[in-house]
């Protein structure tokens, strides 16, 4: 079964699940899993496909969430306008930030990306007049879908939100899949695999990193908008490092640079985090250990498990192959 089919199958399963699960708490967990899957898929475009470690991803999530919060509570715009606006604002910010920081390589980029998100968080925290500071925006209205005065879907109910989240996740995955399959994704892959050689064959690492960064920013902003309208509250913590960390864990544990990886990661990490709620203090420590173990024993993530069991194909020239200096 190909990766795409597995993804489609999972989405289809998720689509019929509400028929069997009525529990509101389980529904809530699944909706949050959709949110995290969107967020980690967006981060995966940068971490997985370009190979740049961005520790400031929460900035784009937060920008999307705040855009939605401000536009819907202050300007009274409907969700369906707030959502694309959130994507545009986050994407524009990603373009501005990326155009400067992606010229830096390696550690410098990592640090600047982290600093950007933290600075943004402090600015929001201290903008009490403009952005309500630590108070945040409560009472963000739920979306509604009506046609000619008839309400088609009322998102005050969990089930409708569930399908909204699932649809947005499917759209996010589709966008990521299209990106990865395009020649642009291919170029990004070349940069990740061997930057020097990529440049020698004419691939511009900066341009590719920037396109992936902006795409990741747009998708994170859309995820942020969904988050805002679902939880009905947005405060400075959406810009916090913990969101970036969670998404990063999901990408690494699930499998970098794959479509399925962030999805699996979001499900496994999200559900484990929830199960560990009873031992709240130890939760993050346990996660730290899990992350270390994952990197040590499963560097390609959960998705690599299913290929590992398959026997290696017979080698064409076993004696020659032993000489290969690149054999790991």
């Amino acid at each position: 079964m190909t990766e795409n089919r597995i993804v489609l199958l999972l989405l289809a399963l998720a689509a019929v699940l509400p028929a069997f699960v009525g529990d509101q708490y389980v529904m809530h967990l699944l909706i949050m899993t959709f949110f995290y899957a969107m967020l980690s898929t967006s981060l995966n475009l940068i971490v997985g496909y370009v190979g740049e470690l961005s520790l400031g991803h929460a900035a784009f999530l937060g920008l999307g969430a705040y855009t939605s919060a401000v536009l819907s509570t202050e300007a009274g715009l409907p969700f369906w306008l707030c959502l694309p606006a959130a994507g545009i604002v986050a994407g524009t910010a990603a373009l501005a930030v990326g155009a400067i920081t992606l010229r830096l390589e390696g550690h410098f980029f990592v640090l600047i990306s982290l600093a950007f998100a933290e600075v943004l968080r402090y600015v929001v925290m201290n903008s009490v007049e403009l952005l309500r500071g630590p108070l945040g925006y409560p009472n963000i209205p739920a979306p509604s879908l009506s046609f000619g005065g008839t309400v088609l879907a009322d998102f005050a109910s969990k089930a409708h939100f569930y399908y909204l989240g699932l649809a947005l996740l499917a759209a996010t995955l589709y966008a990521a899949w299209r990106f990865a399959r395009s020649s642009f994704g291919l170029g990004a892959l070349a940069v990740r695999e061997n930057r020097r050689l990529a440049r020698a064959v004419g691939i511009d690492p900066f341009r590719h990193a920037l396109v992936a960064f902006v795409a990741g920013g747009v998708l994170a902003g859309i995820a942020g908008s969904f988050y805002a309208h679902y939880l009905t509250f947005v405060g400075p913590e959406v810009l916090g490092f913990s969101f970036t960390l969670s998404a990063l864990m999901m990408v690494v544990i699930g499998g970098r640079g794959t479509l399925l990886g962030p999805l699996l990661g979001a499900a496994v990490v999200g559900i484990t985090l929830e199960l560990l709620r009873s031992v709240n203090e130890a939760r993050l420590s346990i996660f730290g250990i899990l992350l270390v173990l994952a990197v040590m024993f499963l560097p390609d993530g959960l998705v690599s498990l299913r290929w590992r069991r398959r026997p290696e194909p017979a080698e064409e020239s076993p004696t020659e192959a032993l000489d290969s200096p690149l054999r790991s």
Binding site: R178, F179, R181, S182, S183, F184, L186, G187, L189, A190, E193, N194, R196, L197, A198, R199, A200, V201, G202, I203, D204, P205, V211, E315, E316, S317, E320, A321, D323, S324, P325, L326, R327, S328
Partner: protein, 259 residues
């Protein structure tokens, strides 16, 4: 007009004058070898030509067009493509994917038609694939098409590097020690491949090489560097006889070494 003109190029790293006022020309369809003892500045000169390092002074022109100080990717897009001294391939990918990545520039369509998988983008991808298969045949790696690059033997990897460079459709191919680590049989195959590239495809090649058999049999001209300076230039026969070269580079005359 010459394919490549290097005019008075210099580069200093701290106290080390790595390349000093080097001028050389490579004509269209020529195979020119750059030789010299270790540390003579051959690889630095390659880096200066291909944009991986910026010269302190001097100009580099490709068919009359000034490419001095351009980024490596821009130089490659101008049709000057290099290989590396240390084997450099996309190790985790199958051979054919390596070539597909290298053909990237020609596969690329406008971003939107590409992302939405339009017909024109797909056609372009198919054409590129066909060409990649042709190049695999040419270098003799066709049967390893789907083998991950890291499983290839050393000699095959060197051929793959050349295949990768060819996928960019270079006018000028720069090879940094392509024969390093090859056995004599593989070396002969490489010589033959280089001749075929020159005669069949009209390709111009600039070569850094230590393997004297290869250099002497394949080169139209040989340029000798020592301590960053050009000390001699001529046909293989002329360079072999040049006393300065013998002293600086070969140490002992050819006849004695062969004896």
């Amino acid at each position: 007009m010459a394919m490549l003109e290097i005019d008075g190029v210099s580069k200093r790293y701290g106290g080390l004058q790595a390349v000093k006022d080097v001028t050389l020309r490579v004509g269209k369809g020529e195979i020119v070898s750059l030789i010299g003892p270790n540390g003579a500045g051959k690889t630095t000169l390659f880096n200066l030509i291909t944009g991986f390092a910026r010269p302190d002074s001097g100009r580099v022109r490709l068919e009359g067009e000034d490419v001095t100080g351009l980024s490596p990717e821009a130089v490659a897009r101008h049709g000057m493509v290099r290989s590396f001294q240390i084997t450099n391939v996309f190790a985790n990918m199958p051979v054919i994917e390596n070539l597909r990545l290298a053909s990237y520039l020609r596969m690329r369509s406008p971003l939107l038609s590409d992302v939405f998988g339009l017909r024109s983008a797909r056609d372009r991808a198919a054409r590129t694939m066909k060409e990649a298969n042709g190049i695999l045949d040419l270098v003799g790696l066709a049967r390893f098409r789907d083998t991950p690059a890291k499983r290839l033997a050393y000699g095959q990897l060197r051929l793959l590097e050349i295949a990768i460079a060819l996928c960019v459709r270079p006018r000028l191919l720069l090879l940094d020690e392509p024969a390093a680590g090859l056995n004599s049989r593989e070396g002969e195959k490489l010589t033959e491949l280089l001749r075929r590239l020159r005669d069949g495809r009209g390709l111009t090649v600039l070569l850094v090489e230590h393997d004297m058999d290869l250099v002497m049999s394949v080169s139209d001209r040989v340029v000798v560097l020592n301590f960053g300076e050009k000390i001699a230039e001529g046909t293989p026969a002329e360079v072999k006889e040049n006393p300065q070269v013998i002293e600086a580079y070969l140490g002992t005359p050819f006849e004695e070494e062969a004896a």
